[in-house]
């Protein structure tokens, strides 16, 4: 029983840092570059990914014994795409301004490699409970990283966090010069690279100590 319990905890917690989908598995980078300009869109995107990932994993795991291997991927994509459309419609309904800001990126979660990656490598061979937690864990791991990147980009780029001014910009009578580079997607590359480097180095240092 204890082993089983641990297994559940591990599937939830391992993807947070140790096996983070972005910094360790290097998946889902395109969306991480595109929507990390500010924290608010990153939060919405992260929530969408968590929900879609958890439920796609759950549904696929439930039907994993019935899926014919010849059309397995197509059916998985169908399930993922449906989940994405449902979430997209919900965002359009309850956060229309965010939906306009994120435009196509919610719909593009279909092609986010984290989703198909987890569904194919985990949910196809694990129980529904474990798969759901794995989806949740990977979603949260993705969320942690993009929110961190978005936080850095918004703070340095615009001097705000969640549109709340931290540094007064020059236009508003303060003395903070906005860093326009941080507004460009390329800056996310550099931040992500540094974070990946840092996380990997820290994990390696820990394993060599053991």
């Amino acid at each position: 029983m204890r082993v089983l319990n641990n297994q559940y905890i591990v599937s939830l917690t391992r993807p947070l840092i140790e096996n983070n989908p972005i910094s360790i598995q290097i998946l889902g980078l395109c969306s991480a570059l595109a929507i990390t300009q500010a924290v608010r869109p990153a939060l919405i995107m992260a929530t969408a990914v968590i929900v879609i990932l958890a439920f796609s994993n759950l549904i696929i795991s439930l039907i994993r014994h019935f899926l014919p291997s010849s059309i397995r991927l197509i059916l998985k994509m169908t399930v993922i795409a449906s989940a994405v459309i449902v979430v997209d419609e919900i965002i359009k309904t309850f956060a229309p301004d965010m939906s306009q800001l994120l435009s196509v990126f919610i719909a593009l979660i279909v092609t986010n490699c984290i989703i198909l990656g987890r569904v194919e490598s985990f949910a196809s061979s694990h129980s529904p409970g474990l798969s759901f937690l794995d989806g949740l864990g990977n979603g949260i791991g993705y969320a942690l990283l993009i929110i961190l990147v978005a936080f850095i980009r918004e703070l340095v780029g615009k001097g705000t966090v969640l549109d709340f001014p931290v540094f007064e910009s020059i236009e508003q009578g303060g003395d903070y010069i906005q860093n326009e580079f941080m507004a460009l997607p390329a800056s996310a590359f550099f931040i992500l690279a540094l974070l990946t480097w840092g996380i990997k180095a820290a994990l390696q240092a820990r394993t060599s100590e053991d």
């Binding site: 291997s69 169908t78 449906s82 419609e89 359009k92 301004d97 196509v104």
Partner: protein, 257 residues
Amino acid sequence: MQQESLAKTLSIAFIVILFCALLVSSAVVYLRPLQAANEAPLSYRNILEVAGLVGQRTSKTSEEDMLALFQQIETQLLDLNTSRATTQYQHNQLNFRSSSNDPQTSIVIEKKFDKAMIQRRPNKIPVYWVHSDETTTKLVLPIYGKGMWSMIYGYIALEQDLNTISGIGFYEQGDTPGIGEKIQEKRWLAQWQGKKLYDENNELALNVDSKIKKFGEKNFQIDGISGATKTVNGVFNIIHYWFGSQGYRTFLIEHKS
């Protein structure tokens, strides 16, 4: 995954697809009415933006502020068949999108006139007179038509002379992200300001990219967007339909004097 008969494969595929289809369609059907409620405040914002009363999307103007700003706008309902405008009209009383599908409230556009590819044109459409101060008045008009993949919806604001463009904006489109989508960018939209629609003979002379063969005069010329020719052509066609004889032309000429 030992035996995989064709029948089994097909039936599993059918069940999964049926489940997904039910999920998606019920989500869309149940959320549509709630989404429609969102459109009203958004359309206030679009009109105010084009009229230059509020800043671009990034600026934070609360819904109450927008509603207050909207009070200075005089809304009229224009009958496009007679070019007469009625004053007794509340914003959002009429949804011209649904009325353009109803044979009772719209006309079929003959193919050769249907530049904007909208097939039917509503008989009545709301127009907005913006009195930003005592001396200046702008007119905001809805425009729409087909781009490359999708219907493009927007508003155009005219200065007091009803010929000079003061602003234009597209609030809904589904053209290629990152390419055709650029018609919503401030940078591209900014060049419309100050351009003129009609020449001295009241001929529609506004040129987008090089749709009219000879490059027009500077006053009538809008640059295209490289890579988005079809979308930009769509915008040109939309302008030429809505400011042509089936659209606002007569109304504008009558009000100029």
